[in-house]
Amino acid sequence: MNNPSPNRLDRRTAIKWMLTAAASMAALEHISLGAAGGPPVPAKGYGTDPDLLQAYKPGDVWPLTLNPAQLAMVVALCDVIIPADAKGPSASSVGVHLFVDEWISAPYDGHGADRTTVVEGLAWLDTESRRRFGNPFVNLIASQKNAICDDICYVPKAKPEFATASQFFKKFRDLTAGGYYTTPEGMKDIGYVGNVPLAAFDGPPPEVLRKLGLA
């Protein structure tokens, strides 16, 4: 199960996505890869009594399954969604791509559907990149990546031909965010300052209460 799906669209998937893109065929607009799903990757989970004190990293409990080409695309797309800025590093620099791989390789209910969404979404993204710009996604320049992402970044406003791709992007953005904001760098970036022992809990500081009109 190391390479369960090629990076390029297989024929059946390609037809499905093309049908979805055929916007005038209203009846087909509702094809949803997520709903179609698929079984999760068969592997053993952590069981009902895992060691909670051990520190885990992706791949420790079940094997990661994306192939190198897919993983390179995950790195690239994660960093389009969460690039480095003044307050925090990029997603891939803190290993978020490995979390995405862990997630879609997990043996639990629901993860098979996410796997289908992500793997087929990556394949679509690569095909779309080649179609528009003659290059695989990982080789596109920022403005080219953004041109595609702008078309798929918001489900309610995506054109019918991008309906399925926008569902993929939504899922992928959620995974990227969850992976990033749970790292030490991501927690700092978002402004989480808890998880430290305190002698007393004093409630919101005065500047917070003033902002809320409660001071």
């Binding site: 992007f169 978002i190 809990f201």
Partner: protein
Amino acid sequence: MPLITSSKTQPSYDVIVVGSGAAGGQTAYTCAMNGAKVLMLEAGRNYDPVKETPMFQTNGTAPLRGERTDEKPFGFYDSTVDGGWQVPGEPYTSASSAPERQFWWWRARMLGGRTNHWGRISLRNGPYDFKPYSRDGLGMDWPLNYEDVAPYYDKVEMLIGVYGGNEGLENTPVSPPGVLLPPPRARAGERLAQARAKQLGLPVIPIHRAVLSVAQDAANIPAKLHPNNPKAQRVLAEAMRARQACFWATACGRGCATKANYQSTTVHLPPALASGNLDILPNAMAREITLDAAGKANGVIYIDKTTGAEGVVKGKVVVLAASSAESVRILLNSKSARFPNGLANSSGKVGKYIMDTVGASLNGQVPLLESLPLHNEDGAGGAHVYVPWWLYQEQAAGKLDFARGYHIEFGTGRQMPGAGTSSGLEWLTGGSYGRQFKEDARRYYGSQLGFAGRGEMIPNDDSFCDLDPNVKDKWGIPVLRFHWQWSQHEIRQAAHMQKTFAGLIEAMGGKVRTPPQKDATKAIEPGGKIIHEVGGTIMGANATNSVTNQWCQTWDVKNLFISDGGPFVSNADKNPTLTIMALAWRSADYMLEEMRKGNI
């Protein structure tokens, strides 16, 4: 006396307690501290929160960033071991295939049971809650009053440590001076809700939770709880001094290595063990209760899960504290010529009137809470405030289309990020990505909140459990089959909850993420989802229509008691755990006195 294995059990005990959670912990504590020799059977493994709790682990070090899975349904770091709505090899069945008629049965196979992960919300039933039939003609009255239970609420609150306030609102009892610990200050979102809820008539007050906001008074409480019992006082004082006050980090659901919150394994069991009067036998799955020739209970047959072998232990009194449904199962599996329909079931009421809590929720986002100055809102690892039921007068005046009330629980704050943090933000951001997304994530973090209603279900004839005639678990024990049906009271109450929450979110200047359900059957959570299952062995005033008397003593077998939620006659909106403990203590006091008198 310590943790033991099957081969180390004594030939006989004064009391055998089946279960180690809130009920079993309290029963064993009361008995052992008063000198009775107690054996506790627990179906799960031994569990030590001091050694096993992930206190400061962040979600980044957990598989799947700590997100819930089938194997850890409350998330990776939840303390539950070998538990959930499904337990491998230990199924239950449903009489109906209709989705709305399913009951979800939560179990935790571990020492301390569900007390390790519970929400620690510790609300007293009020006077109305014991006499619901007298007030509105629905359900049944309890064979006791608030005044009968109040002294035991006092004792339990002092023993386990509960923070909270004493506002004296209707049917929301106050505790005597010195019993409660000071409540923590409200968080930003809780404060804002408090200010804005006033215009809707909703009182936002400190919630009661079993968390030590300050250290317990180990110098004085033991003498109050155990007068004329110097040994118990000494043992308890030592146990109390081993508990730390909350240090305002780490969610309570993980358990607590510093014993700052209540779980049976850190509060009830250590002093009970230190008394020298308690043996605990883990991995012992109780199957049936044995009777002597006179029809008195004299022991318990169990399966030793470590070997699969059957074992028998003997005792003068048997107390079921296995969780309300599991206790029903043991009774129904204890068939004999004398009790062909299951033990203590001459009334035919064993398994009847199971109840859960009505649950519904709604989420929203409040712009005032965006981009707040950074501050730490971990707090007491759970809510600091809540809204008790506030519409008693309107309900009495016939202005509501359902009976019985609910309270409102809050989910607010800048909580430790998890796998879902900043997911699904596009309803606010319009689908941003890149640097704009990072700005948006910072802006909206902590501005989203949720309200959950927890309401009273009225017992009904269509919600019960019996034995499945065909299915057995992996130990060869027949399993429970659940029958479930909400009435219109519960469904309409769930609709009222969502409308109230929408109003509250709007009063805070916010907007709801999805509007209240038009079809209220979609608003209500499935039965059992809230994990407040009670009933099934209800108490009553006579043997024909109930399983136990007001002392949780079965009518049919004088030395058989049920101290879990099974004897509950109603399921008030108040979370049941505190009442389970108060009734268990009261029952144990009565039982010890009856033993002293030679009546049992």
